[in-house]
Symmetry: C2
């Protein structure tokens, strides 16, 4: 039997487009001789639909789309993912389901049993877990169909007390199919290959796995759909970070026509680079915008975002605004202009002195002779935000936020100033990774000016200011933050690793005190296993470590 | 047996303070002759602790606090709520638990079975549901102890397939005790009384119910702990919106010494008023701040927030900043000054013309002769935010946000402008409710100037601007929004109610398009059953209804 895996880029709630894409892929698969085409988890509505699921109209539109897809399934079978209504009174009103469609009929409905509800996942908010299981029979092949997390309960500390495949295996299936919406992080692809391989070994079955691809606000799906033999050996992997459709032949109890291969991951930095490009691209495309604006300081963070945006949107769609102040160093303008030249993007220069002076005068009767402090520093950062937002309001540019994860962590940034923007491009990228991404972008030629990379980082909000005046060196800071944020180590554990005790307590306190700022920052493209945003939910008035 | 209910105001993660309060209440209850004192759900750490629960150190601190409380339990028993570790490998690592402590020993651990995971609740993110149940035996009284949601699965469309009391009743208990962290909404108290009463009737048992009180960022707990007889008749209710400790006597199978009473709810507006005062008060107290700043326009929204803040923090701690522009009407300054006089709060006047002109000049080479539009309007709103944030940075004032729910819904506000602030005081209060709150505040004398109430609402960002230029009349808008946001009705249902079809489609689209703005707004004090913030999670790049 020829089975096509369709790895598509869906758009949450855009039923017209999703249905069109699915039907188009069915046609394409049929032309290539496929007898079954498999789409990802919640392919009909996109993932994660969040509280759209609480609107009956949304659920009805999912069902209507499924009916259209069903009608298009002539002489081919397909598997699609969608929310369906729970017909029982008890329990939540929805299931996270898959339809098996054949001969223009819905032949089977499979419901997800294991509902992830950690990090960015909220599935138990909406769905009732399945308690009953059954295989699909199609042309003599018995298929154990599961949905994403259903195959992930296989490690040493299982999160769930149930295991759907332990039930399905009793029916002696021939093949496992798993439909997924498994978000990217730079550590996730290896884990995915390992877990799926473990399932093949445990159940002695081959596996076809189809993932979504594309970005939905902050969540990026990297695709990379997979085929394994019954020994858990990898046979094939589909494209990463782009749509793909591939046919696999299942015959004599196995997937034939492929030799065993190794998963050779791209480097973390290369993966992050791809993910951020896709994240920017899809944010604009799915929001219906084309043009970006950002403040370009001459520093490394905004330079990186400008380069990424130019690659994602085309340099002609990127407007870099240089906004020097009296504290800007001479090289800042030069470094920024060099970048603009290298990229070929647009730019404007708007000095902020006039606005800063206006505020200084206006506040004089109140501030009197109080010394220059963070108030005046923030006036500068916020005046810059007014300028780029005015560009946005006047011309329809979308503001890109350029804060990095190190800054976001410790609250080193100005709310309503440099923390503004529609989407945080590098808010999940530590400063030390920012450097590596710049090196990667410069791998063939100097795009990001070397001077932006080598000079000491500075917010340039007062004379001679350097990040290192307020923060530890970034290689130490980032190492410490990673232990606390990604790995959730206790302060005692982090100190035991050799980090200075005073520094550990200071940094952990900075992270916790900055929750109020992060609450109001834009969504951040998620590339790590623990990003700020929907995957990390902390009390603001809490007192723990603060 | 004399049982004390201790209705306390906890602070998330502030173990020192929570433990001190609990031990103090134990002593007080003992002095009054109590043999058992009952504290609320997760009283040891505060509710909701959110992702603090993912840090081992946090869980250890809960356990250490419990040990201190245990040691204080001499000659008295107590029930406290805290997260505990799941000793089994399978399932999530924590339970939402209660300790029954007697003779300085933990005699029983009860785990919560029904884990709410809707609206603001995320309990399944952290906790494994209990599958085993058992009563507590204390001095010959068999107590069926449950935790909050455990008693809420009693309606016609049960959310869970299990029901802990259906298990516990098999042991023939004498008394039900429920410890809760049940957040306020102006519709919630009636529902609470009804559901708890239904449990008494169903199981033919009396019930003592203890709730938290106090505000945790956006979530407000209203207290109102309750006692019922076995017929489900209300015997007593404890204070609303403040701490309380009361003793009840359980004898001869019932709670004695009380006559049956009716729950007579306060009016919605009165409840909302109390809730907002408590919300402001606790935000400042728990964050360690005392002074608030806000922009005072002369309009009704900022007038209301100024009055609420003056009541919550004392007028001497409230700084109102009047920031007129060339589009401000003459009466705006007068109305604002009248309010300041009536309240006795502090004020400053900072005209924004100089800043607005500076930005106009600075943008002139780019904007050229393009007509005045939303860009210039927003420059004004954002210049005001710079001024109040500068006050905040210079003097340590905390900025109060004054956006109402009608504006937040349709995106009628300027991001980084009037949408700025540390806490949204009336972001869950529709404009029509704003008027009623002002009338309530003026019930005895004119505090909020009548002119601020009766004049047509205007953002005053261009000559002669009125809200009604861009929005439908608020009584129509609010009615429509309520159907969509609170009740989640479909557009077809709303139209069928008699709302104009074009208007319905326009408003629903405005609500959905404004998600990107709401993502970056401050936390909003929740007073309704569906507030913006953690209880309403919508995709930003979604395409549904937008």
């Amino acid at each position: 039997m020829k089975i096509a895996l369709a790895q598509l880029n869906y758009h949450i709630g855009n039923f017209e487009q999703n249905t069109f894409k699915i039907i188009q892929a069915i046609e394409k698969a049929k032309e290539q001789g496929a007898e079954l085409v498999v789409f990802a988890e919640l392919s009909v509505c996109g993932y994660p639909p969040q509280d759209f699921l609480e609107f009956n109209e949304f659920i009805d539109l999912c069902e209507q789309s499924a009916q259209q897809i069903k009608d298009a399934c002539k002489d081919i079978a397909c598997i699609i993912g969608l929310p369906t209504k729970n017909s029982k009174i008890e329990g939540k009103d929805l299931y996270n389901s898959a339809y098996f469609i054949h001969n223009q009929e819905i032949k089977a409905v499979i419901n997800k049993a294991l509902l992830p509800n950690y990090d960015i996942f909220d599935e138990y908010r909406y769905f009732e877990p399945a308690l009953k299981f059954g295989c699909i029979n199609y042309k003599g092949v018995k298929i154990a169909l599961t949905i994403c997390e259903d195959l992930w309960n296989i490690n040493d500390n299982p999160l769930y007390i149930a295991n759907p495949m332990d039930e399905l295996i009793n029916e002696a299936p021939h093949l496992m199919i798993n439909i997924a919406a498994s978000p990217f992080s730079y550590m996730h692809d290896d884990e995915r290959v390992a877990i799926l391989s473990d399932n093949c070994k445990k159940y002695n079955l081959p596996l076809l796995y189809v993932n979504q691809v594309g970005s939905q606000t902050e969540i990026i799906f990297d695709g990379g759909s997979l085929a394994f033999n019954e020994k858990g050996e990898l046979l094939d992997e589909m494209a990463y970070f782009e749509e793909d459709l591939k046919l696999y032949e299942f015959a004599d109890g196995n997937i034939i026509g492929h030799v065993v291969k190794q998963h050779i991951p791209q480097s973390d930095i290369e993966q992050i680079h791809h993910a951020l490009i896709l994240g920017i691209k899809d944010y604009f495309k799915k929001s219906g915008f084309t043009k970006a604006v950002l403040g370009l300081s001459g520093g490394i963070d905004s330079a990186l975002v400008c380069a990424l945006a130019s690659e994602a949107l085309g340099p002609e769609n990127v407007m870099a605004v240089l906004m020097p102040s009296e504290y800007s160093t001479d090289h800042s303008i030069k470094d920024a202009l060099d970048l603009v030249t290298n990229l070929g993007c647009k730019h404007e220069i708007v000095a902020i002195k006039e606005a800063a002076s206006a505020f200084e005068n206006m506040m004089k009767p109140i501030f009197k002779d109080l010394p220059f402090n963070i108030a005046e520093e923030n006036i500068q950062a916020r005046s810059r935000a007014i300028i780029v937002m005015a560009m946005s309001n006047k011309f329809g540019y979308i503001l890109l936020n350029t804060s990095n994860k190190s800054e976001c962590s410790v609250g080193y940034g100005t709310l309503y100033g440099d923390m503004a923007g529609a989407i945080g491009v590098i808010g999940d990228v530590y400063k030390t990774q920012v450097y590596k991404l710049c090196e990667y972008i410069n791998r063939d030629k100097e795009i990001i000016p070397i001077n932006s990379i080598v000079k000491p980082p500075s917010a340039e909000l007062r004379p001679g200011q350097k990040d290192s005046d307020s923060l530890p060196e970034y290689d130490i800071l980032d190492g410490l933050l990673y232990q606390y944020i990604e790995l959730k180590k206790t302060s005692a554990q982090i100190i035991a690793m050799g980090f200075d005790e005073v520094l550990v307590r200071r940094v952990l306190k900075m992270v916790n005190v900055a929750e109020f700022k992060r609450y109001q920052t834009p969504p951040i493209l998620r590339v790590s296993p623990k990003a700020f945003g929907m995957g990390r939910r902390m009390p603001i008035v809490g007192k723990y470590l603060s």
